[in-house]
């Protein structure tokens, strides 16, 4: 359900856009360089998470669990900045569900509190608890899960029974395995899984510690593999980079589509507004770890990165080059100035949420019914995201991309697989 894009620009008459000093090919090169760097950083950080998980499982303790959690939090920082690539690039969008699927029915994986409930109308396997059950029936099929392997998670459990909330892999599955459920509702506190959930022998709590460890190791292995694959797609000659460079106008449109769809439908709507309207503490993106303020903050930063053509890597080096901002400024300096101001304003509002959350008033507490201060903080950020979306639409018009879009006979907007 993405905005209309153009497929091709067969007739040059339709493509007669103003000649501009900033080369579109160079802008797309910057865009792909940022993607390569950000997915590369995500991979490095996920490998560090893998090392920390190995240490936790080799020598379970409060310290090794805390170190693994820290590694997870760090891994989120570069990854969230890649989300701006998702909606403009089908290769990313098709893959994304493996690594960042959310929201999830975590009872599929492990034990949950009785207040979680059981199977629902929407999901018969919401409380399957694979870690406690070596064999079970799934959609009429007998499943042997005596060994919890990456293949089992990827091929059998993930999106089991065609239910998207059956998330068996990715950051949020690992987050649940490291933190456990956050049972504090809209009160202070994150998930409090004891390190003894990974202890050996008689120290093991909640049963099946060895299977829980296998699950965590498999999920982390998969995350590393999946990120390595995506980082590779953006290197020279990689499929994602080639796709973006293949058609300059389509590539520029992909940047703007990714920015707008993430700003509006996904972040402002699905991830933020819904939480306020439901007063539900689980309606926060990183609900187990109470890291939602960071996940929103770095999403917004990723949107800004691709527009201004600059990304600060996790080792401090900066990847930058000719930017979309410069191109828009050549067409209409006012539109560019307004969009830059909007992106900066969003960063300021997100920064407020982050500061307040880190000071102790966590994102889930902001969602409580009748908490007007929390609601105002979140609403201001939502309004900023909506405002920047309008400016993104104006940039599309300033570049003449909408004219191509509606004059083209077909749209890239692949009308949903169901229509095929």
């Amino acid at each position: 359900m993405s905005r209309l894009l153009l497929v091709s620009c067969a007739s040059t008459a339709l493509c007669a856009l103003p000649a501009l000093a900033t080369e579109k090919g160079d802008i797309l090169g910057t865009y792909a360089d940022i993607a390569e760097a950000a997915y590369g950083d995500s991979l490095v950080a996920a490998e560090a998470l893998g090392d920390a998980v190995a240490e936790l499982l080799d020598a379970p303790s409060a310290d090794t669990l805390a170190t693994a959690r820290q590694a997870w939090l760090r891994a989120r920082i570069p990854y969230q900045q890649t989300e701006a690539f998702r909606f403009g690039n089908p290769i990313v969008d098709d893959w994304e569900g493996k690594v960042n699927a959310w929201p999830l029915d975590e009872g599929l994986m492990d034990y949950v509190d009785p207040s979680y409930g059981g199977a629902t109308d929407e999901n018969a396997y919401a409380a399957l608890d694979v870690i406690a059950n070596p064999t079970f029936t799934l959609s009429g099929e007998e499943i042997d899960a005596t060994e919890i392997t990456p293949a089992l998670l990827r091929d059998t459990l993930h999106e089991a029974d065609a239910v998207e909330a059956n998330v068996a892999t990715g950051y949020h599955a690992i987050e649940f395995l490291l933190w456990g459920q956050d049972l504090n509702g809209t009160e202070a506190g994150a998930g409090a899984r004891p390190w003894t959930d990974y202890a050996t022998g008689a120290d093991c709590t909640h049963g099946n510690c060895d299977r829980r460890g296998e699950y965590l190791r498999s999920a982390t292995t998969l995350l590393v593999d999946d990120l390595a694959w995506m980082a590779d797609q953006w290197t020279a000659g990689g499929a994602a980079r080639e796709a973006v460079l293949a058609n300059e106008d389509a590539g520029i449109d992909a940047i703007l589509t990714g920015m707008g769809s993430l700003s509006y439908g996904e972040q402002a709507g699905e991830r933020m507004k819904l939480g306020i309207l439901l007063n539900d503490p689980e309606e926060e993106h990183d609900c187990f770890s109470d890291n939602t303020h960071n996940s929103h903050y770095y999403d917004a930063m990723g949107i800004r990165n691709v527009y201004v053509g600059s990304y600060a890597r996790i080792d401090g080096t900066v990847v930058s080059g000719p930017s979309l901002s410069e191109l828009v400024a050549e067409s209409d300096p006012d539109v560019d100035a307004a969009l830059r101001a909007d992106l900066d304003h969003t960063m300021a509002e997100m920064g407020r949420i982050k500061a307040v959350a880190e000071a102790g008033f966590s994102y889930d507490r902001m969602l409580a019914r009748g908490n007007s201060d929390g609601e105002a903080l979140i609403t201001n950020a939502i309004d900023a995201l909506i405002a920047q979306t309008r400016s993104i639409e104006r940039a599309v018009v300033a570049l003449g991309l909408d004219q191509i879009a509606f004059q083209g006979s077909e749209s890239l907007d692949d009308p949903n697989a169901v229509f095929q």
Partner: protein
């Protein structure tokens, strides 16, 4: 005080392309919200007199029908204070409604006692979809006049009437003018008249997307795993009726928005509506059956076809393509 629409007419005399916007507001949007106000007011009055499920169902159907005809308008007052989802919280992918409704009743939550208090309740416990359960689900529908559930139903109906009244008032006393004054100094919402055309065209296009991908796509599920239980308002038996009402509403909206009679678009809509009516299956239960599923998919394809025809016929004439909409993303 109702504001005269006369100044609006004057303001719109700028150029030929504005005719569609003016028409859409006066012949479609404002009457549509007026009908929603009336229907929800009737619902609230009926509930105050007799809150039982049996007595309320006709007014409920009428209110839902009024909403389905304009639900695709995702601009202006309806976007304030979460009203869109407070009026109809659907789809509900995480089953929040059941949990929220059961929780309110189990706690006998006093939020139902005042309008202001109820307005703070989670959208999953409010609106038309809450009534879908309260009036039809066997766990609730037998409630008596002295019960908590009765008070709850009255609160939902009153909340709907309040929101509909506010939306209509805000359109008449402000937002219509915001559209009309696009491009004027001081109008920070619409910097040009073109942006208004795009916003309304986006509503048309995304409304059709919603009908195909959600109203039909959710019960269709996948071939291996159809999901009839996910049909909209299936407990009330209204799934098909709401789809048809939505398509009729979108057809009227498209006609008003277009500069000339959009004959191709209207024909495409008529084909989609005819195929939908032919389903003769109020809750899309037949998605479970290969032949039935095929028929539902045909409706879906015709809706998608109507969207494409509208883009080339109406979008081109208005000089716009669809912008971002709330359905972008997951």
């Amino acid at each position: 005080m109702k504001r005269s629409l006369f100044p609006l007419l004057i303001a719109f005399l700028a150029g030929p392309a504005t005719a569609g916007v003016e028409d859409a507001i006066e012949t479609y949007i404002l009457p549509g919200y007026a009908r929603l106000s009336e229907a929800t007011e009737t619902l609230a009055n009926d509930a105050a007199t007799d809150c039982t499920a049996e007595g309320l169902r006709p007014a409920y159907r009428d209110a839902f029908d009024a909403w389905a005809r304009i639900g695709h308008l995702r601009i202006g007052p309806v976007e304030e204070q979460g009203r869109v989802l407070a009026i109809e919280f659907w789809p509900d992918v995480r089953g929040m409604a059941d949990r929220t409704i059961a929780g309110l009743i189990a706690d006998a939550d006093p939020a139902v006692e005042s309008e202001a208090g109820f307005a703070e309740v989670s959208v999953a416990g409010r609106g038309l979809m809450a009534l879908d359960r309260l009036l039809n689900d066997e766990a609730y529908e037998g409630y008596g006049k002295e019960s908590y559930t009765c008070d709850y139903v009255v609160a939902v109906a009153r909340d709907l009437a309040r929101m509909a009244f506010e939306i209509e008032a805000e359109w008449r006393d402000g937002y219509a003018e915001t559209l009309a004054s696009a491009g004027d100094a001081g109008n920070t919402t619409y910097l040009s008249e073109r942006e208004v055309r795009q916003a309304l065209f986006t509503a048309l296009s995304s409304g059709l997307e919603f009908d195909a991908a959600q109203r039909l796509g959710r019960p269709l599920g996948t071939f291996e795993r159809p999901r009839p239980e996910r049909a909209e308002a299936r407990r009330s038996g209204l799934s098909l009726a709401l789809l048809v009402a939505s398509l009729e509403g979108l057809r009227d909206f498209a006609t008003a928005l277009a500069l000339d009679t959009p004959t191709e678009t209207r024909a495409a809509f008529d084909r989609a509506i005819a195929a939908a009516r032919d389903l003769d299956d109020p809750v899309f239960a037949l998605v479970d059956d290969p032949q039935g599923r095929f028929e539902v998919e045909i409706v879906q394809q015709r809706i998608e076809a109507a969207r494409q025809v509208a883009a080339s016929e109406i979008g081109t004439a208005l000089g716009v393509s669809a912008g971002f909409n709330a359905g972008d993303g997951d």
